[in-house]
């Protein structure tokens, strides 16, 4: 069977356009003409259409949801696979209704080919333009335009030319090239897989031929290496850095540069199961180990030293806003770019663009579905690229508490690359003078946060004190942050309400972070009852953070009641007491559990001590 062997790429095609201009119908029609409708499906859809009192509706092939069929619109994006005589395709159907822009983007963002469809009878509408503009933001520079429902205007060439001219004018203004302008009827089947006799004035090819001849290779500068660090695994005794090459390639002998630490390093080995190769290319996932113990974290970008990404803390971006809540300049957002996550705020809205007129609007703050130009500021340095240089390391999304609220592409010309600033001026952030590696190599251990959580009376402080003493005698830089002690100073005035507990933990975690900056192993002994808060503490420096569950049943803790607090809590003399009148959420996957009910105290101490040495000391 050689027939399909030479066809290696399967282009993804997205169809966008105003609601009801025929996106889903076109795909249905294509499937039908290319004989791709499964047996029985035609009859099934006929029944489904009749049930709703409609003519046969091809769109139902894709509009599989009940709500979509009942309302006759596409709500969510869908993908469908089909093949022509020449090659296989994935068709992405994107909703046209403005309510569903986020679903349209979800579909369109992964496309190799874009088709913009216009109802030639109705002409160009708001979403026709909006979609074209969003395609541009998604990095699509060429489209195939289709003028649908030619049957409704009796295949009138003049009308076609008129709509075509309007559309071309718009596309030219936003720098999108219209490759083909095909007059079609998805309903009747004109110019889909064969040339229609009703449009003899049209000299071009039908849609299927156009697709089959389409060249999907983009000509980005693929030789620049960008390898964002996705995760770091410690399997057996290896520390494996994993990620996917977003552009360029890596050879075993290459020297690499890690950003933002700006350190050069060599590859020790490639790791792959069942066995590694000697070279990896764009799009490939790989694992590697390094020849030196330098600090590498998730979200770092690895490149070749001569072509590094830029290091930005302020930059401009084009944003599309997707959320019902409008943009808030006083708010912190989470920015995700490649594998990195940063806290940012939007410093300024330069303009909001009216995608119909392309003028800037009078509005000040972007709302749902608005496209804007903004300035973004991050307190951390972000390794990234300009959108016109490398697409994949220049696009990002913004998250609110728990949803993606915007997508954007970065433009880096108007703000300085912090990397150059550091080397050429007097401004030198301290973390570049004495690096983490310098500290670690002097102290012979990396810094870390040992976060001990557990009920009051479970034995956290007792174990912490012992472990601190033992590690100190072994020349570790170690320090205890104790919950009770902190409440006498830094955290004085905070109550035990959920909000104040949250603030208590936040402050403690920030102090712990400062200690890690100074190269310490800091042992935090804190009830910290909420999973979500412990996760936030972990998220400040995940590489450093180890959660230790000091386990003991509530009954046992009440029995011990070293400080006499449980007795008071049971008598309701203390409010919000964890275990009695406030919840304790035990860790789901702690890095280490010490069970003080089952183990002798010495045993728990030894266990934690060995764990810390194993995890943080630098083996010579």
């Amino acid at each position: 069977m050689k027939k399909f062997k030479d066809i290696e790429e399967i282009p993804k095609i997205v169809i966008v356009g105003h609601v009801d201009h025929g996106k889903s119908s076109l795909i249905g029609r294509l499937m039908y003409e290319l004989d791709q409708v499964p047996d029985g499906k035609y009859e099934e859809l006929k029944k489904v259409s009749e049930k709703r009192g409609m003519d046969f509706e091809f769109a139902f092939l894709l509009d599989a949801l009940q709500a979509e069929r009942d309302q006759g619109i596409t709500i969510d994006t869908t993908q469908i696979f089909f093949k022509t005589k020449k090659r296989n395709y994935v068709f992405i159907d994107a909703p046209g209704h403005k309510e569903f822009i986020k679903n349209m983007i979800t579909g369109a963002a992964s496309a190799d080919i874009a088709i913009l469809i216009v109802d030639v009878d109705e002409g160009i509408k708001a979403q026709t333009k909006k979609h074209a503009y969003i395609l541009k933001l998604l990095g699509i520079k060429k489209v195939i335009t289709l003028f649908n429902k030619m049957d409704k205007i009796n295949y009138d060439e003049k009308k076609y030319l008129q709509v075509k001219k309007q559309l071309e004018e718009y596309l030219t203004k936003i720098n999108i090239e219209a490759l083909n302008n095909i007059p079609i009827s998805a309903k009747i089947g004109d110019n889909i897989s064969t040339r229609s006799k009703k449009t003899l004035w049209y000299n071009g090819k039908p849609l299927v031929n156009v697709l089959d001849n389409y060249n999907c290779n983009d000509n980005q500068m693929d030789n620049i290496l960008r390898f964002p660090v996705q995760d770091i695994y410690k399997f057996s005794d290896k520390r494996i850095i994993v990620g996917r090459i977003e552009s360029g390639k890596i050879n075993l002998g290459d020297e690499l540069l890690v950003m933002p630490s700006n350190e050069k390093v060599k590859i020790k080995s490639f790791e792959e199961w069942p066995k590694p190769k000697k070279e990896y290319n764009t799009g490939e996932c790989l694992g590697l180990t390094l020849s030196d113990e330098i600090f590498v974290d998730k979200g770092n970008i690895i490149s070749h030293p001569n072509k590094p990404p830029k290091l930005m803390n302020t930059f401009e971006a084009n944003l599309f806003w997707l959320n019902d809540k409008k943009m808030d300049l006083s708010k912190k957002y989470q920015l995700k770019i490649n594998t990195g996550e940063y806290t940012v705020n939007i410093r300024k809205v330069n303009k909001i663009i009216d995608t119909e007129s392309l003028e800037s609007t009078n509005k000040k703050i972007p709302n749902k579905n608005d496209v804007s130009e903004v300035v973004i500021h991050s307190s951390q340095l972000i390794p990234m690229d300009d959108y016109n240089v490398l697409t994949k390391t220049a696009r990002f999304c913004l998250l609110d508490e728990n949803e993606i609220v915007a997508g954007g592409i970065a433009s880096l010309q108007n703000y300085p690359d912090q990397k150059e600033l550091n080397s050429s001026s007097n401004i030198k952030p301290i973390n570049f003078d004495v690096t983490e590696v310098d500290r670690a190599s002097r102290f012979n251990h990396r810094s870390g946060v040992i976060w001990m959580t557990g009920l009051s009376g479970s034995g956290k402080s007792t174990i912490a004190k012992e472990v601190e003493r033992k590690l100190f005698s072994k020349d570790f830089n170690v320090f205890i942050l104790d919950g009770d002690n902190l409440r006498m100073g830094l955290n004085r005035g905070l109550s035990f309400s959920p909000e104040d507990r949250t603030e208590n933990i936040r402050r403690t975690a920030e102090v712990a972070k400062l200690f890690t900056d100074a190269g310490f192993i800091v042992i935090v002994s804190l009830i910290s009852p909420y999973r979500s808060e412990r996760k936030k503490a972990r998220d400040i420096r995940p590489e450093y953070f180890r959660e230790i569950y000091v386990k003991s049943s509530l009954e046992e803790c009440i029995k011990r009641d070293v400080k006499g607090l449980y007795a008071k809590a049971i008598r309701s003399e203390i409010k919000d007491f964890t275990g009695i009148s406030a919840p304790y959420e035990e860790p789901l996957s702690p890095d280490l559990t010490v069970d003080t009910e089952q183990e002798e105290i010495e045993e728990s101490v030894l266990k934690l001590e060995s764990f810390i040495i194993e995890e943080f000391s630098i083996k010579k």
Partner: protein, 265 residues
């Protein structure tokens, strides 16, 4: 392996690693079918030969014997950390569902039980877009609320490999690393990697199973494909849909949507 398969493989590995990094406590469903085995294989690739989370077989106790034999053999051979879960009797399931769907919905309840028991925040499932219309609308990382419900009309945006992982307690995320694969991709990959599969997929007496489910609601299709090459050849020309032998899909227009919106895979 051709470039298309290589890309699918890399995309899936990326998804696995993203899930493991971003979701606290995850597990992977292993239904013993072809897709599921490809998934195990991809997880080996993502985690260098040792899967760092448990696999779950939600057992309806109505699978084919060949499937149980396969499970017991490869649980050992692959050194899997396998959780075997059971399902409630059909009498406990929503009686408004048509019979086969009602029977299939046992698996949803079995899964919910496991999720609750082990407090999993994420579960990897091997569904594909080309199998079924509502699956084609899925996200790679798809949240389910406390009751397992899928909010089809309000799915989160997902683009440029970015997703949200920050959901309130009680929500779990379905992780779909095979969403972009097709049936034929699966078979080509099985061939190139020599991944073992249950014999029921190969033709005996002019019939074979294209999709495996409970034995009382799954029937074989007419086929002479006796090996992987013949299956690949058959799939290039067939117009019979993959799930045509799964009775639950064909009882009502919206039955699959109903099942899935309540938490079915």
């Amino acid at each position: 392996m051709d470039r298309h398969l290589k890309k699918l493989e890399n995309d899936s590995i990326y998804i696995f690693r993203q899930a493991y990094r971003s979701i606290d406590n995850i597990a992977m469903l292993w239904s013993l079918g072809k897709d599921s085995n490809v998934m195990v294989w991809l997880a080996f690739k993502a985690f260098f030969g040792k899967i760092p989370f448990p696999l779950v077989h939600v057992d309806t106790k109505k699978k084919f014997n060949e499937m149980y034999e396969f499970r017991d053999r490869y649980e050992k051979e692959w050194n899997l950390n396998l959780i075997k879960g059971d399902c409630p009797p059909v009498e406990k399931i929503d009686p408004s569902l048509p019979p086969a769907a009602r029977s299939a919905a046992r698996k949803t309840e079995g899964l919910k039980k496991i999720l609750k028991q082990y407090k999993f925040k994420g579960v990897v499932a091997g569904i594909r877009r080309d199998e079924q219309g509502t699956r084609a609308k899925e996200r790679i990382f798809s949240p389910r609320d406390e009751t397992g419900k899928w909010d089809i009309k309000n799915q989160p945006p997902e683009f440029w490999d970015q997703s949200n992982f920050n959901y309130p307690d009680g929500v779990h995320i379905r992780i779909h690393p095979l969403l972009g694969w097709t049936e034929i991709d699966i078979w080509k990959y099985i061939k190139s990697q020599k991944i073992p599969v249950v014999d029921l997929y190969f033709s005996k007496n002019g019939k074979r199973y294209r999709s495996l489910g409970d034995k009382d609601i799954t029937s074989p299709v007419n086929s002479d494909a006796k090996n992987i090459d013949e299956i690949i050849e058959e799939l290039q020309t067939t117009k019979v849909s993959e799930r045509s032998g799964r009775a639950m899909d064909h009882e009502q227009e919206d039955v699959f949507e109903k099942l899935r919106s309540k938490g079915y895979m």
